[in-house]
Amino acid sequence: MSPLFRLRAQVLGVGVVVTILGFTGLAASQSPAILPAQSTWALTATGLLSQPIADSTPDAAQLRRGQYLVAAGDCMSCHLRDGGQPLAGGLRLNTPFGVIYSANITSDTQTGIGAWTNDQFYHAMHDGIGMHGENLYPAFPYPWFRRVSRDDVDAIFAFLKSTPAVNYTPPANDLPFPLSIRSMVKGWNMFFFNSRDFQADPRQSGEWNRGAYLVNGLGHCGGCHTPKNALGADRSSQELYGARLDNWVAPDLTGNDRTGLGGWSIDDVAEYLRNGRNTHAGAGGAMADVVTYSTSLMSDEDRRAMAVYLKSQTVSPSVSHQQPDSGAMRRGAAIYSDACASCHLEDGVGQPRLFPPLGHNAMLQQADATGLEHLVLAGGRIGTSASRPSPLTMPSFAWKLSDSEIADVTTYLRNSWGNLASAVSVAEVHDVRHRLGLQATQLTVNSGDQN
């Protein structure tokens, strides 16, 4: 047995026994069992967030609330690495300042939060201070979590303490000096950690206030959707205007008709949060995980409250643009018809809830085209949920289209069927391709017919 297999077998929790061929027939039971006989299996991430909690469990009500809030806070997206156990952390976060690995927040007493107290956990959520008084890096979104009520934080903590303990220590962060000194964060906090506990606005409805609590608190939507300054803090005057993040663009969530949610109804927003897809768009990039591990697991009421709040945002200013080059538009139209119409159909009408229609499409018209270039180069997958499990995926075109072809087709997309946005340059496509490491072809396990 190879070490590789041993490792994999352990990861899957498979008990391994070596026997000699010929013994095998005797190793198993001789008589039929009532089935299912092997009913224990590993918990999946969504399973942990959605499995029923029995009434007989002590503090069942608080645990259920905590389970719900862990979903609402999208804890799983960051505290789950590829191939790892739910909430055990270790996900590599590429921040503009260096690499940070998410923490283990399972109940493990050595490597997780099992030994923490309620107060310590609240201190972390509210103030960004760890168990030993150390400053946490603001990749952990405590500036948003500060707005979460003490009761909610306690419920979250109670649920986390009930999760299966996973003994796992994430890799050390890789931050350049002086950011590697945690106390530097104190200075950052002094300048930028200015959020306050949540205050309801008595002029607004209860639904709106609930939405505001979720969007600006646990949901920490601005963590991705609000532009950041050079030190990674929110530009508070541009809340939810959309921002670049890890070679994607978290789009404008204000009511802007071209780049934001202007063309979406409250129901459209709620449907998107529930299913990761609606008649306008599909949730790709980091938003795919947000749908899977967070918004799809929330209640209809809370999704609607978030939609109501988002639809009330101040509209971001429109960006001016220039008429695109007619050659680029002509070439882009040719490429579109041959390479894109297979799913989005001639005239960009798309297939609702499957392949987004491209006319009047906000994602296409973001001022920053990085996300669109990323999507065409690398492909993108829509987040799944129990109600809509199909992980509809746009294929990668990195192997098929050159940088200039991608510049032409994306320019065409950004300026057709009612869309208006700046042209895409060959140089920016080239940059994104290199940042994504897609200069060379990335094959699949099927690709055995290469010479």
Binding site: R8, D338, E346, W399, L436, L443, T444, N451
Partner: protein
């Protein structure tokens, strides 16, 4: 564990275990194995002479459409025989090797590349013995046609363990493949064979044309790597 070569089939790709979700990785694609580079890498000069003569008779050039030469078929064949197809990567070549009945199909020990090599030598040897010129490529075109017809019908027997009909069937099939396949494989140059018949190639959406009975579809032929309209300034 030995480093398993990736493989397009049953055995060879690493064993994998999937649980909990449908896997996917950004940027991955089972990209088609297009060919590149100048000149022949498999054919020896004498073989190239035979191939260029033979495929030119199988699909001659005229004003209706390109011939196999004009479509780049010899180059296509060369790259096919130099690659996995030539090695017989999807052929079972284990023994024993009785001839079998015609219904039992291909029963040679040769991989396609080996068959071409052996058959071309055997045909030139037959030509040398039968005509007063040494090799097939030097025959007049009507003589070449006669030899090809003899191979097709099996009336010409070949030495070297080569079944003439098997080879002819493979050569004709591969020639048509080179003529009509996507240009990334080196044949169907300028998509001229597709233009000749009116095939739009790798276009994917005809939804608007399904019920437009009897109309000409206006899409120009496109290959997997595009068409001139993608890059014209």
């Amino acid at each position: 564990m030995a480093a398993a070569a990736i493989h397009d089939g049953e055995l060879g790709a690493p064993a994998q275990t999937f649980r909990g979700s449908v896997p996917w990785r950004e940027g991955t694609a089972d990209v088609p194995p297009g060919v590149s580079g100048p000149g022949y890498v498999y054919f020896e000069p004498a073989e190239a002479a035979f191939i260029e003569a033979a495929v030119g008779r199988l699909i001659p050039n005229d004003q209706v459409g390109p011939g196999a030469i004009e479509a780049g078929v010899p180059f296509f064949l060369d790259r096919q025989l130099a690659g996995p197809f030539g090695r017989g990567d999807h052929y079972y070549l284990g023994g024993p090797w009785p001839k079998g009945t015609p219904e039992q199909g291909y029963q040679s020990r040769f991989s396609p590349a080996q068959l071409y090599r052996a058959a071309i030598a055997a045909i030139d040897s037959y030509v040398g013995a039968t005509f007063d010129r040494a090799v097939f490529s030097k025959l007049a075109t009507d003589e070449q046609d006669k030899v090809l017809k003899g191979l097709e019908s099996g009336e010409i027997g070949l030495d070297g363990g080569v079944d003439a009909r098997s080879f002819f069937a493979m050569l004709l099939q591969n020639t048509k493949e080179g003529y009509f396949s996507d240009p990334i494989y080196g044949g169907n140059r300028d998509m001229a064979a597709w233009k000749m018949i009116g095939f739009p190639g790798a276009h994917y959406d005809y939804k608007e044309w399904v019920s437009r009975h009897g109309e000409r579809v206006p899409y120009p032929p496109v290959g997997l790597k595009g068409r001139p309209g993608w890059t014209q300034s």
